[in-house]
Symmetry: C2
Subunit: 272 residues, 2 copies
């Protein structure tokens, strides 16, 4: 492992590509090795035990690529297995919770922060605990939005789609009534619903994107540890998935926001 | 394996319990061993390759219980891996496709049949092929309804829920316009949306429940092969899952339609 090594990014599926999009903007010279556990996605509805098991298999796979840092670009993994990963991995690790919480605490003016995520993320209270550690004065309102993942994966995301609007209202009404001025998008799928969420919550509410915050935080860590590459050529990411790569292009395009050159390889994650 | 052995039933998750409910009605003296792959659910969005791999692991696990028959109570597994399972298993096998198609062909009066299921089920055209083999004259209209599974798993199933009604309309409009008089509920989650689907399609449309048809078909096969138990005491099922059994009770109650005595055990399906 050296500063020329890749950054390993993983997610339960392809949602983490919304974070990769931010990495490519912030760190274009870094090589990204991404693993998406498409054969076992989603994690957000599963138990702590299973999420831990899967997360360590994912991280072990990335370590076979000699990565210099591991990023869990997944609200669920970061929330449930984050501490264990940080302790046990031999390379720098970050999830999405800490960098995102840090920004939310800085952004809020009225001290009322909403957190939306999967059932596992919200059930772990990871964001709430972190936010209140950073600032014991903030009030945190949590809401699990399990149907958001399905909406995104089925492309029902347009701000004018009646189903999208109704589901957003169903989940977000209590946060709106509570008067939050900042909402953490605590799942890498949720940035694709940003417009619909913003329409409902109103312009005065800041939406904090966990992928964006995490990419910036990772850049900071690597800089501090002198681990940024000095080879200033733009790298193309390598993608690995646990189901067949069929259909990867279209979904990847959706999350990455562009078509790009890359390779996709299927691996058997149960072997790690 | 003897007539006193259990019947093995499996599904990608807990949806197959809607079929177990029918088995308990039709075959109350039979012991049911159920496996739900809750650690890897859902299957309906995955590739043929992964669905095949998982289905054989599931069936191998059930065979360690010396079952006398294996039932894939899952539209996706039956559609994608059904033929391979039938060929390779050493005990009688049935999925849900053949018995359900058989009933649908008998029920239709105008020869127009709708099929709804997961993306994998509809993509396999398993129902369409079977229906047209049974009666080359029928017209078959297929529709993948991926969001239905999420609605059921999040309890958004009431006939008066605006989200439920909108999603039903979104998926079912083409089948209604086509004038189908019979609809196959080709996923074990869908019977929980029966009322909302029926409200939209109208009273004249017959909904065929794959779990009900499969339980009756399994009873017929076991009777013909002299494999029904002669011990006429009511048996309680044994349930196995691949995630923790936490939360099993409430979801099982939903699909089984009643609370009942049972055991739930977690197993590591990757070992099979």
């Amino acid at each position: 492992m050296s500063s020329q090594s890749a950054i390993g990014v993983f997610d339960s599926g392809l949602g983490g590509l919304s974070a990769v999009k931010e990495f490519l903007n912030v760190l274009p010279f870094e090589k990204i090795v991404y693993f998406g556990d498409t054969g076992r996605v989603p994690y957000g509805t599963r138990s702590r035990e299973i999420i831990n098991k899967y997360a360590f298999q994912d991280a072990r796979f990335l370590q076979t690529h000699n990565v210099k840092m591991i990023v869990a670009a997944c609200g669920t993994v970061s929330s449930v297995a984050g501490e264990a990963l940080r302790e046990k991995l031999s390379v720098p690790y970050t999830g999405v919770v800490n960098p995102t919480a840090y920004t939310a605490v800085r952004k809020t003016k009225n001290g009322k922060i909403g957190v939306i995520g999967t059932a596992a993320t919200v059930g772990s209270h990871s964001y709430k605990l972190r936010l209140q550690k950073l600032n014991p004065g903030v009030k945190v309102f949590e809401q699990a939005c399990p149907l958001f993942v399905s909406l995104v994966e089925n492309g029902i995301i347009h701000r004018d789609d009646q189903i999208t609007r109704l589901v957003v209202r169903r989940y977000m009404a209590e946060l709106k009534d509570a008067g939050v001025d900042t909402v953490i998008l605590g799942c890498t799928h949720f940035p694709l619903l940003r417009e619909a969420i913003s329409d409902y919550m109103g312009e005065g509410v800041t939406l904090v994107d966990s992928g964006y915050e995490t990419a910036n935080y990772a850049a900071k860590v690597l800089r501090e540890q002198n681990l940024l590459t000095d080879d200033e050529t733009v790298k193309t990411p390598s993608f690995f998935v646990s189901d067949t790569p069929e259909g990867f292009e279209s979904v990847a395009g959706l999350f990455l926001g562009r078509d790009m050159e890359h390779t996709v390889t299927q691996i058997d994650i149960e072997q790690y």
